[in-house]
C-alpha cells in the first residue's frame, strides 16, 4: 500500500526525469538547465566538486528547494514539490550526510519516528518485523534494539537508509554515502546498494570524490561542474581520468611526483609516547619515531587506531601519559599549545569546522588564530588587524581561495576553501614541523591535489611533515617513510618508495604479512 504511487516499475524504465532545471541564488547560478533521467534498477551517480551545484540539485529533487525554471516528471507525470513531504509521498527518500537521528532512541524507534503510519500508538512489534524483513532483503546488519549513540557511522547510515525505505522510498538519494565510513563498512554498504538496485529501486548517490567507488558500483554517471552537466555517460565507458577531467575541467595528475629532497637534521623526535583516549583507555601505546627536515612521515591507519590521539598529544591538546616529545632537541612534552606554536610547530587539525576555524569569525579573524600572539602582528596587546587583513588577502590570492572577500564568515566557505585558508595561515608561519591530520578528508579532487602539493612544497622548503591519513593511496604517494598504525601501536616503519599497497593494507588491519621483511 505504501508503494502505490511508484510500484510497477519496469527495470530500465525512466522513473524520474528532470528537464531544464535552473536555480539562481543572489550572485550565483547554482543549477543551469540541468537534464537528468533516472531509471528503475539503476545506480546513477552524480559527481561534482564542492560548489558544482550538487547540493542544490539534491534539494530540488527532495522538495526542499523549488527550481526557478524547469520541470520534474515522475513516471511521465509532471509534478511539483512544495516540501519534502510531497517528495516522500511520491516515493523519494533522502539519506543525509549530516545524520538526523535521535541519539538516545533505539534504531527501531528512530525508523518509526515520524512515520505517517505510526499514528498515536506505536505498534513497535509489527514495525520491528517489517524493518527486519527489509534488513534481510537487502543484507543490512544492524541491531534494531541498540541505541543510536552506540552505532558506528556506517551503521547510522544504514539506519537512515532503512528509515527512507520504511517510508516507502523507491528512489533513494544518497548524499556522500561513503565519506565517513571505514573501508570494511564501505564494502558492506555498496553490496546493499547493489541489492537495492536489483530490486528495481533507483539509487542516486551524490559523490564529491572517491572516483573508484563510482566506477565500481554505478551504472551511469552524470558529472556536474559550475552548475551545468558536463558529461553524461555509461560507467562502462568511463575511467578515473575522464571523470576527474570532466569534474575539475582540466587534466588531473593522479601520480604525484615524489620529490627527492636531501634528508636533513631530525626535527621532531617522539620517544615511547603513550596517551589515553577520551573514554580513558590507552589509545596510543609506546610510539617512537623521528621526522627529519625535508621528509614526509606518513601514518596510515583506519580511523580510531590512536592516530588522532597522537596528533593531539603532539599539538599539546592532550596530555601524554608516558614518553617524551622533542622539537629541535628541546623537550616539549609538557609545553603548552602556544609554546609549541612559538617554537615552530604547525598543526592542521582534522576537524576543520570545530577546531581549525571559527565559523562566526571572518576570514581575517580566522587567520588571526595563529598570529594574535605573534609580536609581528600584536604589539602592546593590540592586534594589528590591518596586517592580518593583508596576510589573509595574500593567502586568498596565493591559494586561490574562492570567497567574496576576507570579511566573509568562515562558515560560508566550502570545505576545500576553508582548508586552503587553514593550510595557508599555518604554512605562512614557515613551521619547522607540520602535523597534518587528515588534511584532505572530504575534499574534492582539485582541492585534494592542491593540499597534497602544498605539503610537498613545504617538504622541499625543508619542513618536517607528519602526515596522518586514512587514505592509503595518499600516504603511499606522499610519504618518504610510512608507519601503519593499529590499536595505538606502529606495526613497523616502511620506506615509502618501496612499500607495497597490499602490505600496508594488511598491516593497518593488524596482520603482519609473512613475506615482508621489516
Amino acid at each position: 500500500m505504501q508503494h502505490e504511487t511508484i510500484n510497477g516499475f519496469q527495470r530500465g524504465a525512466p522513473v524520474l526525469e528532470l528537464r531544464g532545471i535552473t536555480k539562481r541564488f543572489p550572485g550565483v547560478l547554482a543549477n543551469d538547465r540541468i537534464d537528468l533521467e533516472m531509471r528503475a534498477g539503476e545506480i546513477h551517480a552524480i559527481l561534482g566538486e564542492n560548489g558544482a551545484g550538487k547540493t542544490t540539485l539534491m534539494k530540488i529533487l527532495y522538495g526542499m528547494l523549488q527550481p526557478d525554471e524547469g520541470e520534474i516528471y515522475i513516471r511521465g507525470q509532471r509534478v511539483k514539490f512544495h516540501s519534502p513531504q510531497d517528495a516522500i509521498a511520491l516515493g523519494i527518500g533522502m539519506v543525509h550526510q549530516n545524520r538526523t537521528l535521535v541519539a538516545a532512541h533505539t534504531v527501531l524507534e528512530n525508523i518509526v519516528l515520524g512515520h505517517p503510519r505510526a499514528g498515536r500508538v506505536l505498534n513497535l512489534k509489527r514495525a520491528g518485523e517489517e524493518v527486519a524483513a527489509l534488513c534481510e532483503r537487502y543484507g543490512f546488519k544492524v541491531d534494531l534494539k541498540a541505541s543510536v549513540w552506540q552505532l558506528s557511522e556506517g551503521e547510522k547510515q544504514v539506519v537512515e537508509i532503512l528509515k527512507a525505505l520504511y517510508r516507502g522510498a523507491r528512489i533513494l538519494i544518497l548524499d556522500e554515502p561513503t565519506s565517513a565510513l571505514a573501508p570494511s563498512e564501505t564494502e558492506k554498504l555498496l553490496a546493499s546498494i547493489q541489492a537495492m538496485a536489483n530490486d528495481e529501486l533507483a539509487i542516486v548517490p551524490f559523490i564529491t570524490h572517491k572516483l573508484p567507488i563510482v566506477l565500481a558500483t554505478s551504472h551511469r554517471v552524470t558529472v556536474l561542474r559550475g552548475g551545468r552537466v558536463t558529461a553524461r555517460l555509461d560507467t562502462a565507458n568511463a575511467n578515473e581520468r575522464i571523470l576527474a577531467r570532466e569534474m575539475v575541467g582540466r587534466e588531473v595528475i593522479f601520480r604525484l611526483e615524489r620529490a627527492t629532497v636531501e634528508r636533513g637534521a631530525p626535527v621532531l623526535q617522539v620517544e615511547g609516547l603513550s596517551a589515553l583516549s577520551n573514554r580513558g583507555y590507552l589509545a596510543l601505546r609506546n610510539v617512537s619515531f623521528t621526522v627529519h627536515e625535508g621528509e614526509i612521515f606518513g601514518i596510515a591507519g583506519v580511523s580510531g587506531n590512536g592516530q588522532h590521539e597522537l596528533a593531539e598529544v603532539l599539538a599539546g591538546l592532550r596530555p601524554a601519559v608516558g614518553g617524551r616529545v622533542l622539537l629541535d632537541g628541546k623537550d616539549i612534552t609538557n609545553a603548552s599549545t602556544l609554546e609549541r606554536w612559538r617554537l615552530g610547530m604547525g598543526y592542521i587539525p582534522a576537524e576543520r569546522n570545530e577546531v581549525g576555524s571559527i565559523g562566526d569569525f571572518s576570514l581575517v579573524e580566522n587567520t588571526a588564530m595563529n598570529y594574535y600572539f605573534d609580536p609581528q602582528y600584536a604589539r602592546r596587546g593590540i592586534v594589528d588587524y590591518k596586517a592580518m587583513r593583508r596576510l589573509t588577502e595574500e593567502i586568498i590570492a596565493h591559494y586561490k581561495v574562492v570567497t567574496p572577500g576576507p570579511d566573509v564568515r568562515a562558515r560560508n566557505l566550502s570545505g576545500g576553501n576553508l582548508q586552503k585558508v587553514i593550510l595557508g595561515r599555518v604554512l605562512a608561519r614557515r613551521p619547522r614541523v607540520i602535523i597534518a591530520n587528515l588534511p584532505t578528508q572530504g575534499l574534492d579532487v582539485g582541492a585534494t591535489e592542491f593540499v597534497q602539493n602544498q605539503l610537498i612544497e613545504a617538504k622541499k622548503a625543508g619542513a618536517a611533515v607528519l602526515l596522518i591519513s586514512e587514505d592509503l593511496d595518499e600516504v603511499l604517494a606522499l610519504s618518504d617513510r610510512i608507519a601503519p598504525i593499529y590499536e595505538g601501536a606502529f606495526m613497523g616503519i616502511l620506506p615509502g618508495g618501496e612499500a607495497e599497497r597490499e602490505h600496508v593494507g594488511a598491516m593497518i588491519a593488524g596482520t603482519l604479512p609473512k613475506d615482508l621483511v621489516v
Partner: protein, 377 residues
C-alpha cells in the same frame, strides 16, 4: 503560509545590520507599550495619560531625570558585568551578589577608617573615593572569580554557581546591616550606616561622576573586544572553546579573566548606587529591590547583542521606566507594582522580538500553476 496569491515565509537571515537590529528593538518597545495598555484599561486608567506621566517624570522632570540616570547607569554597569562573560560564551547571573559584595567592601573600608563612629570628620576625598571604588571592584571581582575558576578548572556550570552565590551575598548584607550587625545604622531600622558627607561622590551636572565613567567604559570595552589581543582571546573562546584551545588560548585563564572583569564592573555598580547616588549614601533597607533590578542587566545585554555601546540606550530606557513607573503608580493610585510589571512586559516582548534578529518574513507572489501539473495537497 499562503494568503491568496501571496506566499508568506520565514527565512533565516544571513546577516543583521545594526540599524535593523535597532529598528526591531524600537518596534518591540512600541508593541510592549501597546500590550501593557490593556492593564491600564483594566485598572480604569487612560493608557495615554499613564504613559505621559511615566515618560514625562522619567525623562523630562528635574527630579525624575537624575533618578532615571542614576538607575540607568546602575543597570548599565550590571549590563557590562553580564556582557563581558557573555562575549566568552559564559553567563553571569550573579551581578546581584557581586554588587552586594562591592557595596559591603565600600562600607568595610569606611568602617575601618572610623567613618561610622565619626560621620562628620574631614576625609581627603580625592584619595579615599578611588580607594572605595577599588575596594568595591576588588570584592565584586573576587566573588565572581570563584565562578570563573570553578568553570575553567572543573567545568562547573557558571550559571548555577553565580546564581547560588547571590543568595549567600543577600543574607550576608542582611547580617551586616540588621540587628546589631557591624554596618548597622544608628536608627537600628535595618539599614546600613550613612556614608560620611565628606566621602559623598562629586556630582557633575547634577549626576554622580560615575555616570560619565560608565559611559567611558562602553568605549573602552568596545575597544577591548574589537582591537586588543585579550579581546580576541575572549571572543574566540566564546565562539568555540575547542578552536580557542587549538589557537593556544588557555581554557582556565579566559573564564577566570572574564568573571574577574565582570565582577569588578558589578562591584562598581554597587559603589555607584549605594555610595554615589544623592539621597542614598548607604545600604538601604530595600537593597533587595536593587538586587532584583540588577537582573535586568541580563536582558539589556541580550537586547544589545552583547555589545557595550548599544547597551547604553537600553539600560537608560529601562532605568527611566522603572523610575517613571514607580512615580505613576503613586500618582494614579494604582494598586500593583507598575514599575516591575512594565519592565517585565517589555522584557518578554523584546526577547520575543529577538526572533526577528535571526529570521525575516519574506512575501512572494505565487505563480499560477499550469493546468497539467499535479499539485499535491
Amino acid at each position: 503560509m499562503r494568503l491568496g496569491a501571496l506566499e508568506v515565509k520565514l527565512q533565516p537571515r544571513a546577516s543583521l545590520p545594526g540599524w535593523k537590529a535597532a529598528l526591531i528593538s524600537v518596534l518591540a518597545i512600541v508593541v510592549a507599550l501597546l500590550l501593557f495598555s490593556v492593564l491600564f484599561v483594566l485598572a480604569r486608567v487612560s493608557p495615554l495619560e499613564a504613559y505621559r506621566e511615566i515618560i514625562s517624570y522619567a525623562f523630562f522632570n528635574r527630579f525624575g531625570l537624575p533618578l532615571s540616570i542614576s538607575r540607568g547607569i546602575f543597570l548599565l554597569l550590571c549590563t557590562y558585568a553580564f556582557i563581558v562573560p557573555y562575549q566568552a560564551g559564559l553567563w553571569n547571573i550573579g551581578m546581584t551578589g557581586q554588587l552586594y559584595l562591592g557595596s559591603l567592601a565600600v562600607y568595610a573600608v569606611v568602617l575601618a577608617l572610623g567613618g561610622k563612629a565619626n560621620p562628620s570628620a574631614a576625609y581627603p576625598a580625592g584619595l579615599i573615593i578611588p580607594l572605595l571604588m577599588l575596594a568595591a571592584m576588588a570584592a565584586g571581582a573576587a566573588y565572581a572569580g570563584v565562578a570563573g575558576f570553578l568553570k575553567g578548572k572543573f567545568n562547573v556550570n557558571e550559571i548555577v554557581v553565580t546564581m547560588l552565590m547571590n543568595f549567600i551575598a543577600f543574607w550576608l548584607v542582611s547580617y551586616t546591616i540588621k540587628e546589631g550587625g557591624p554596618f548597622m545604622g544608628g536608627s537600628g531600622e535595618g539599614e546600613g550606616f550613612k556614608l560620611p558627607a565628606a566621602l559623598n561622590a562629586p556630582l557633575v551636572a547634577g549626576v554622580p561622576f560615575t555616570a560619565f565613567l560608565a559611559l567611558a567604559l562602553a568605549v573602552l570595552l568596545t575597544f577591548m573586544f574589537a582591537k586588543t589581543k585579550v579581546g580576541y582571546e575572549i571572543r574566540a573562546y566564546g565562539k568555540s572553546p575547542a578552536a580557542a584551545r587549538y589557537a593556544g588560548i588557555s581554557g582556565l585563564r579566559i573564564p577566570v579573566l572574564v568573571f574577574l572583569i565582570g565582577g569588578a564592573l558589578a562591584g562598581l555598580a554597587g559603589y555607584h548606587y549605594f555610595a554615589a547616588v544623592p539621597g542614598v549614601y548607604k545600604i538601604p533597607t530595600n537593597y533587595g529591590y536593587f538586587g532584583d533590578l540588577a537582573f535586568y542587566g541580563i536582558i539589556c545585554g541580550l537586547i544589545a547583542l552583547g555589545h557595550p555601546l548599544p547597551a547604553i540606550p537600553v539600560a537608560l530606557l529601562f532605568g527611566g521606566l522603572s523610575v517613571g513607573g514607580r512615580f505613576a503608580q503613586g500618582k494614579l493610585h494604582m494598586n500593583f507594582g507598575l514599575d516591575y510589571a512594565l519592565l517585565g512586559v517589555l522584557m518578554i516582548t523584546l526577547v520575543a522580538f529577538q526572533f526577528f534578529y535571526r529570521y525575516q518574513i519574506v512575501v512572494t507572489r505565487l505563480e499560477r500553476e499550469p493546468a497539467d501539473v499535479r499539485v499535491l495537497r
